[in-house]
């Protein structure tokens, strides 16, 4: 008796759900339907008992619900899922050879997925849209990957022996060309993004002196990254990759040679034109050298060129002073730079260290 009662209440639940659907459904409003569908697909079938009692019974004059309830006759000759027939030692790669959305009858795993109220089991694998939505990697199990790698080995050449470290690669192949290939299902095999070519090279690998380097950097502009020392040139202006490749090569060649050429007007550059503070060119060095020579009672008649080439490391604490001054000018005033300047001057002149009053 109790069993029968339970059965009835389940049917009642279904009826109520259906009526809920009919009443909420308005033609043309996709939103409602979608919500309901999600409700059906991912939550467990039961509705709380409390909700049943709140529902009004609907007078069903035309017996429409009876029609909806009618079960479609199942075909007799449907075979059981093939996952049930699979031996445990089968080769899974043969069953699932390629990417494919999830299919419950072919996967012999008791998978469950979906949102449920607390304490209930998630819906099983059959008719579970959640499992079909997510991409699966059932076609790329480790044994399959292994066998595919084995199959592809005969097309692979061995890695050159001397290129055994990152440094060796960088040394022998200083230039890097980056381009992308695309593979997709469409009537065309072309993809416009495949035309883009990027060339990367380390600036230190180019043979440049300081002047040429300076000029190269000015030519390249923001294509140079100081942190990694990489010059990155990208071309996408031509329709075909080959053309872009040629163009990138041309750019690098042109910049390189241009940076080596010396124009007449480049000699006109004077101290005021310098874009950074060079200690060796500035009066500060002359003063330092003069002071040093004087304090050592040495000859004090060096010309400008000799002053410029004077090795600061001969002067005790000279190097420190040089770097402190350069930093102060090149990087602007800051507490750190000023403090450094302070200490280096005190050291240079043999003054006592600054006493900080607490």
């Amino acid at each position: 008796m109790y069993l029968i009662f339970c059965h009835k209440s389940v049917i009642l639940n279904k009826l109520i759900k259906m009526s809920l659907f009919i009443r909420n459904y308005k033609p043309g409003v996709a939103y409602n339907a979608q919500i309901l569908w999600r409700f059906n697909s991912t939550t467990a079938e039961t509705v709380k008992q409390g909700e049943d009692e709140e529902e009004f019974r609907v007078l069903d004059i035309l017996h429409k619900k009876g029609k909806l309830q009618k079960r479609v006759n199942r075909r007799a000759d449907i075979q059981p899922d093939r996952s049930e027939k699979m031996p445990t030692d089968q080769n899974w790669g043969n069953v699932w050879p390629g990417p494919r959305s999830f299919h419950p009858s072919s996967v012999p795993l008791p998978i469950r997925q979906g949102y449920v109220p607390k304490g209930q089991a998630p819906p099983g694998k059959k008719a579970n849209a959640e499992l079909m939505k997510i991409p699966n990697f059932l076609h790329l199990t480790p044994p399959v990957v292994k066998s595919q790698c084995e199959a592809l080995k005969k097309f692979c050449t061995s890695w050159p022996k001397l290129l055994n470290s990152e440094e060796a690669i960088e040394k022998n192949y200083p230039m890097e060309i980056i381009s992308s290939d695309y593979c997709h299902a469409s009537p065309t095999i072309r993809n416009p993004l495949a035309r883009i070519v990027t060339l990367r090279v380390k600036l230190s690998n180019l043979k440049l002196d300081s002047r040429a380097r300076d000029k190269f950097l000015r030519l390249v502009g923001d294509k140079y990254d100081e942190k990694t020392d990489l010059v990155t040139l990208t071309a996408d202006r031509c329709p075909v990759r080959k053309q872009n490749m040629d163009y990138v090569n041309y750019l690098l060649t042109a910049c390189y040679h241009e940076s080596w050429t010396v124009e007449d007007w480049e000699t006109d550059k004077c101290l005021e034109d310098m874009e950074y503070y060079d200690f060796d060119l500035n009066p500060s060095k002359k003063n330092l050298v003069n002071w040093y020579l004087m304090s050592n009672n040495e000859d004090n008649n060096l010309n400008d060129e000799q002053v410029k080439n004077f090795d600061v490391s001969k002067i005790p604490n000279g190097v420190e002073y040089k770097s402190a001054v350069s930093e102060l000018f090149n990087e602007g005033e800051s507490d750190l730079a000023l403090n450094k300047y302070d200490t280096s001057v005190r050291k240079l002149l043999g003054l006592p260290e600054k006493k900080i009053a607490n």
Partner: protein, 712 residues
């Protein structure tokens, strides 16, 4: 209008040629895959455009649980009978055909290039980039089309025979063509005998095409277009002669072919080896009688030698084809062996077709057993690969398996042959759906009869139902094998297979299954026995449903009813029923037996006698009563002890007491006993005296009591 598409078509062909040239050049590269100085990359290993795909595909093996990939992998959509397999595959292809028809008919609608930005100019008839000719609309020719020789060339190259004829007519017939084009048109006509072939792209249609046995009848169209073109050709080149003679010989117009050969010889026109090959194939049409035919065959070979033509494998095949078509007998077999030996001396190995004809010649169903297949298989196993070269090559495996099964009845040979078919890429030699099915029919039959049982079951699990669905005759063999081994669980599962394969309506098979079930039923475990009884109940229910449906729908072909013997088998099987299904089956079988007024098989008598008390013990009193009264009605002696025993169970007395009771208290029984017990008592008296209890004193006719027993 259409000539503008021709050029890209030609371009694609040119590109194809370039590609092949490139790959040939690529193969000249050094094969070492090691870097020369340890720094520079090693030379690329040359590979074709699809080599990687093929290498990856080679890692995927066979999955016996899955249907062929052309079907949907879903239990509702996997076809399980031959009819469904055919219907599903062909309907899918019909859809493709409909799409192709719309594409061809309304080619002007397919103008967009989807991958182009919308601003760009749209080029019509470019379906992809690079263009895929197979997916492009086919040119459409009618009486108004403006055509050039390029169109004719295109239609000839693509074997569009009807279109080619149309274009030919539009171009003004025989007069308006260059001789070169005329020749290739003639060759096309001769090859297909002016009949449009099924296009290569309809794979399923070709696979399921009804395998009409090759007709050895003159089908060549005399006075057709090919003949007309040939007569109009002036001067007649050797190629033209070759084409027309081969066409005639292929379609068995032997006299004309031979006459033309003579004409060519008189004119001093050289003929090719393939012309002689085709003549050798139809030489039998010219002569009557085996010895004359052999003479003619040898004559032709000598003629070939005189012309300085060296024979090839097709020559051997053609000779054997003719020999096998002339019947059997020692003479022809001797000549055939001689021919093969001579060709072997020339270094020509027989092809699969040649072996097929040899098998046809030697292994006749009624003839003596000649084992040439062992040597043939040994020879084929030695070969590295079996390349199909002739159309008849696909007949070899099916014939050889037939020989294994019917002629030699040798399972080891069959296994070797099957291994050969599964080797490398050889499965393509299986032919078409029809041949595949026959091949497996032979294979499964021979395996069921002669293979060890484990191997048989393994084979059945692997092949059925996805690769092969057994026909009724093979199903019977399988049932026999299962019965012989007493594989009860498998027999119980066989009913489901019968149902799924659409054999459930065949009374013969179902009876066979019931026979097997009742035979093995005794030795099985209780669990299996229960399954078997459920199956028996299912079978009876299915029969009833089928009858109901028949009455309702008024079918033309009536469903076959189960025989009395089969029903007895059910009774025998269910005599020790434990589950409800078993009792139900027994009751249904009994009901039907009584309805048909049929006598049970002798073996079933004892089973019935045993069934009655047991049914009574399990409180199935009605069934017990029915059983006993049926026994009594049929006049079997077993009715008396059975009724006494049953009654003793029902009344809970000893048999002696019941015996006395039945003997003494005749009139009082009618009032004191419950209906079932009363019926048993009546049966007892029927069996003893030939008249029922109630009527012993009265004068009611015997018609009424037969009615009363029917009511129960």
């Amino acid at each position: 209008m259409y000539s503008n598409i021709i050029i890209p078509r030609q371009w694609s062909r040119l590109a194809c040629v370039c590609r092949s040239v490139a790959s040939i050049e690529g193969q000249k590269l050094p094969q070492t895959s090691i870097s020369s100085d340890g720094i520079s990359p090693p030379p690329r290993i040359p590979r074709g455009s699809t080599d990687i795909l093929q290498a990856l595909a080679a890692t995927v093996g066979n999955d016996p649980t899955a249907a062929h990939y052309k079907y949907h992998d879903d239990p509702f959509l996997i076809p399980l009978s031959n009819f469904r397999k055919r219907a599903y595959a062909l309907s899918a292809e019909a859809g493709r055909k409909a799409a192709a028809w719309i594409r061809d008919e309304h080619a002007n609608l397919f103008t967009t290039r989807e991958w182009d930005p919308p601003m760009k100019m749209k080029t019509p008839y470019f379906n992809a980039d690079p263009q895929i000719p197979a997916y492009a609309p086919k040119p459409f020719y009618n009486d108004e089309s403006i055509v050039t020789e390029i169109d004719l060339k295109y239609t000839i190259d693509n074997a569009l025979l009807e279109d080619a004829i149309k274009v030919f007519e539009l171009l003004g017939g025989e007069s308006g063509l260059s001789s070169e084009l005329k020749l290739s048109f003639l060759q096309l006509l001769c090859f297909y005998n002016e009949k449009e072939p099924v296009a290569m792209e309809w794979v399923e249609e070709r696979w399921f095409a009804a395998a009409t046995r090759e007709r050895h009848a003159t089908t060549w169209k005399l006075g057709g277009l090919a003949d007309k073109i040939f007569t109009s050709m002036e001067p007649k080149t050797p190629e033209a002669y070759c084409a027309i003679i081969q066409g005639m010989a292929k379609y068995f117009q032997a006299e004309r072919a031979y006459a033309l050969t003579q004409e060519a010889k008189e004119k001093g026109i050289p003929l090719s080896t393939s012309v002689y090959n085709s003549l050798l194939g139809c030489i039998g049409f010219l002569k009557e009688g085996v010895s004359l035919r052999i003479e003619a065959l040898k004559g032709l070979l000598v003629e070939m030698d005189e012309q300085g033509l060296s024979p090839n494998t097709e020559t051997l095949t053609a000779c054997l084809k003719s020999l096998s078509a002339w019947g059997g007998g020692k003479t022809l077999q001797g000549v055939a062996l001689q021919t093969v030996a001579e060709f072997r001396q020339l270094g020509i190995e027989p092809s699969l077709s040649a072996y097929y004809y040899l098998l046809c010649l030697f292994c006749k169903d009624q003839g003596p057993k000649i084992d040439i297949l062992t040597n043939i298989i040994a020879d084929l196993e030695k070969r590295e690969s079996l390349e199909p070269t002739e159309a008849m090559d696909t007949n070899f495996f099916i014939t050889a398996m037939g020989v294994c099964s019917n002629h030699l009845q040798d399972i080891n040979l069959a296994e070797r042959l099957h291994a050969l078919l599964m080797k490398n890429d050889n499965y393509k030699l299986v032919g078409d759906a029809y041949k595949e099915s026959i091949y497996y029919r032979h294979f499964v039959t021979v395996a069921c009869r002669f293979a060890p049982f484990e191997r048989t079951t393994q084979l059945l699990d692997m092949l059925i139902p996805n690769i092969y669905v057994p026909e009724p005759s093979v199903m019977e063999e399988i049932l026999k094998a299962l019965e012989l081994q007493g594989a009860g669980a498998r027999l119980a599962a066989a009913w489901r297979e019968l149902l799924v394969f659409g054999h459930a309506g065949r009374a013969r098979l179902v009876e066979r299954l019931l026979r097997a079930l009742s035979c093995c039923g005794r030795e099985q475990d209780d669990e299996v026995k229960e399954q078997m009884q459920t199956v028996a109940a299912d079978i009876l229910k299915y029969g009833e449903l089928a009858e109901e449906r028949e009455e309702r729908e008024d079918r033309r072909s009536p469903t076959q009813k189960l025989s009395a013997r089969a029903l007895s088998d059910v009774l025998e099987l269910c005599a020790d029923a434990r589950c409800d299904a078993g009792w139900a089956a027994a009751a249904a079988a009994l009901r039907r037996l009584r309805a048909d007024a049929a006598e049970p098989a002798p073996a079933a008598r004892a089973a019935l006698a045993a069934l009655a008390p047991r049914a009574a013990r399990h409180a199935h009193h009605a069934l017990a009563a029915a059983t006993v009264s049926y026994l009594a009605e049929c006049g079997f002696e077993e009715a008396i002890p059975a009724s006494i025993e049953t009654l003793s169970v029902i009344l809970n007395r000893t048999t002696e007491e019941v015996g006395k009771l039945l003997e003494e208290n005749k009139p009082s029984l009618t009032t004191s006993l419950q209906p079932a017990a009363l019926e048993i008592a009546q049966a007892y008296h029927t069996a003893k005296t030939g008249t029922p209890l109630r009527d012993s004193g009265s004068s009611t006719s015997s018609d009424s009591d037969s009615e009363s027993s029917d009511d129960d």
